[in-house]
Symmetry: C2
Subunit: 363 residues, 2 copies
């Protein structure tokens, strides 16, 4: 009879990805037991209202209840099990050991001290949260230098972008450039304008389809792509700050202070620019793409013309794609492509990171 090894998990964040993660952990229990002899025991769960600590582990029934309560807008503090802490750092202090995996699926810097304490305890860290990784270098290096950190889903969700970057970087082969379409929303918009749709119409349609954030400026500013590009750059060992990333916003800066409805009404003013960019690109047999471009220690995020017959030139719709042009991958790059967002794919990627850490601690 094989023994079942229990891995304690502390999960920070019970939003969309956090809930999908809890659901997947429950759904895969039998598989993880049979194939890997592992049981992921969730000993603490936190949202912004506080944390529930259940040292013996939440039962599957309790986890389902958490998911339902949170999906209905409830709070961790309302749940009838475990004991409560209003400081996430405390739950790490109470529960984290070397065996523990601390999972950050928030989108906040409020977890920082908890992460640092977990690192002191030599717990494994799994982040889907980009903010700690895009903090000033003096701070963020504490994460990048920690060997028991995984953050695969911060760039391209479940696509193996980080592990590929780490592998190419570790061998030391010369990486000439990395070009990535890292926003499904902007990918959708570029395809639409290429098909002759006015930019303003494409944005409104994307908003209607739920492809954009509630405020599309979040997407159009390029800020989220810039965060991903910075994480990639730092994974290559480049010592860059957020301010070093050159970002092209798709709307004029002064719109940042406008009410959303004014922005949506004024989008039409941008249409002609896009029409002429598409024409100019086509004349050169190139396609218009919003990309992150890493080369020679510099990171540029914005619109770029790429050859029609390159992988990114052929990409259409919301999928993400990353081309790695290196010493041994030329003229054809190494290419990764597929869905780059979504709570389920992201949660599955987080779960892969957790499993990797759990299996490594055995080795």
């Amino acid at each position: 009879m094989e023994t079942l090894r229990e891995i304690p998990l502390i999960v920070l964040g019970v939003g969309g990805v956090g809930r999908a993660l809890l659901e997947q952990i429950v759904a895969r229990r039998e598989y993880h037991k049979r194939r890997y002899g592992l049981y992921l025991r969730i000993v603490a769960l936190a949202d912004s209202t506080g944390a529930a600590v259940v040292p013996e582990g939440l039962s599957d029934e309790e986890l389902k209840q958490v998911v339902q309560t949170k999906a209905e807008g409830g709070r961790i503090a309302d749940l009838p099990f475990g004991y409560y802490q209003n400081d996430v750092k405390n739950i790490v202090d109470l529960e984290a050991t070397r065996e523990t995996v601390v999972v950050d699926v928030t989108a906040s810097m409020d977890t920082w001290e908890a992460l640092m304490l977990a690192r002191e305890r030599k717990s494994a860290l799994v982040l889907a949260n980009k903010l700690p990784l895009t903090a000033p270098l003096s701070q963020a290096m504490a994460l990048y230098e920690y060997p028991r950190l995984r953050y695969e889903t911060t760039v391209g969700a479940g696509l193996p972008v980080i592990v590929t970057t780490k592998r190419l970087s570790a061998s030391g082969e010369h990486i000439r450039r990395i070009i990535g379409v890292l926003s499904g929303t902007l990918g959708y918009l570029m395809t639409a304008v290429e098909d002759g749709v006015a930019f303003s119409k494409a944005v409104l349609k994307a908003k209607e389809l739920g492809y954009t954030e509630p405020d599309p400026r979040e997407d159009l500013s390029g800020r989220d792509v810039a965060r991903k590009a910075l994480i990639l750059a730092r994974t290559l060992g480049w010592k860059l700050e957020m301010e070093d990333v050159s970002v092209q916003s798709l709307y004029p800066e002064e719109w940042d202070t406008w009410p959303l409805e004014d922005v949506l009404a004024e989008l039409i003013a941008l249409d002609d620019d896009f029409f002429s960019w598409v024409d100019a690109a086509r004349a050169r047999r190139e396609a218009l793409r919003y990309v992150a471009h890493l080369e020679d220690g510099r990171v540029n995020v914005g619109i770029q013309f790429v050859p029609f017959d390159s992988p990114i030139g052929q990409l259409r719709g919301t999928d993400n794609m990353v081309e790695f042009h290196t010493e041994y991958y030329e003229p054809q790059p190494l290419v990764l492509a597929g869905r780059g967002a979504g709570v389920h794919a992201t949660a599955a990627g987080v779960l892969s990171d957790i499993m990797e850490m759990a299996l490594a601690s055995h080795g």
Copy 2:
């Protein structure tokens, strides 16, 4: 002053990949030191004639000499340094510790006992050698179950095929099917026949370009693709033997016993089949591809019609490509693409595996 951590390496095999690996290790010394604080100390090197053991590590000058000697057809036994062993198992016995990485870049089962001994010593294992991984399960499971094993380059060379398969498999999401073009040679041939070239002419041209093995039957039999497919299947946890892989050879079985020149002369007899396959595929708006197809616990290797507008349908030339169709990657699959062979890309992938093991032993 940071301390330099030394990782002892035992390298089995000094053929094309082995030599490229030694060259890259020397070329990346400064980079590995600066970025990772690591020094890869090569304490033993073996070819089929025996092994040189140099406990203090071969100098860069000595490594260059090895590369040159081997490239000129010389033997390890002829080298003027270290002491010699004619059994590779002995060098593991003499030198392998928990810190050691044992690298198998041969294409032989002769390393088996050395690998098993290294496993007992808890050394890390890095294999570019497919044979131990495609041995009968009763034997090969000793490798697949060992957590300190990496074998990324056995499928798709430097493409992250194994790590992606492991990640998807570990999360537990349902993997509907994996379809891969895993032979650059067969990819080249399929593109050529699709372009209207007679199959026999395409094979002779590929042979002339050095895309095929000296005896093209090695490629045309599908045996090498079948080995890669079996490694993928076993990575998914499928308990399959080589005989369970259904393989379509591109030539009649009786040719196996013919002299090569007769085979090359007779290839023309296959042309009409390919012309009609291409026509049939085109009529269905599909492309002819030689793929490994994994689905529902079964592995098929052979010619398949795939939609023109699928990633593999659009693939042309010698690049490899793998489509992962899973629960969260549909309708669009997760796709990896790029060069899937070549000594430099393979050696770089082996070096990435070595670095991963070296950095993990630190954590």
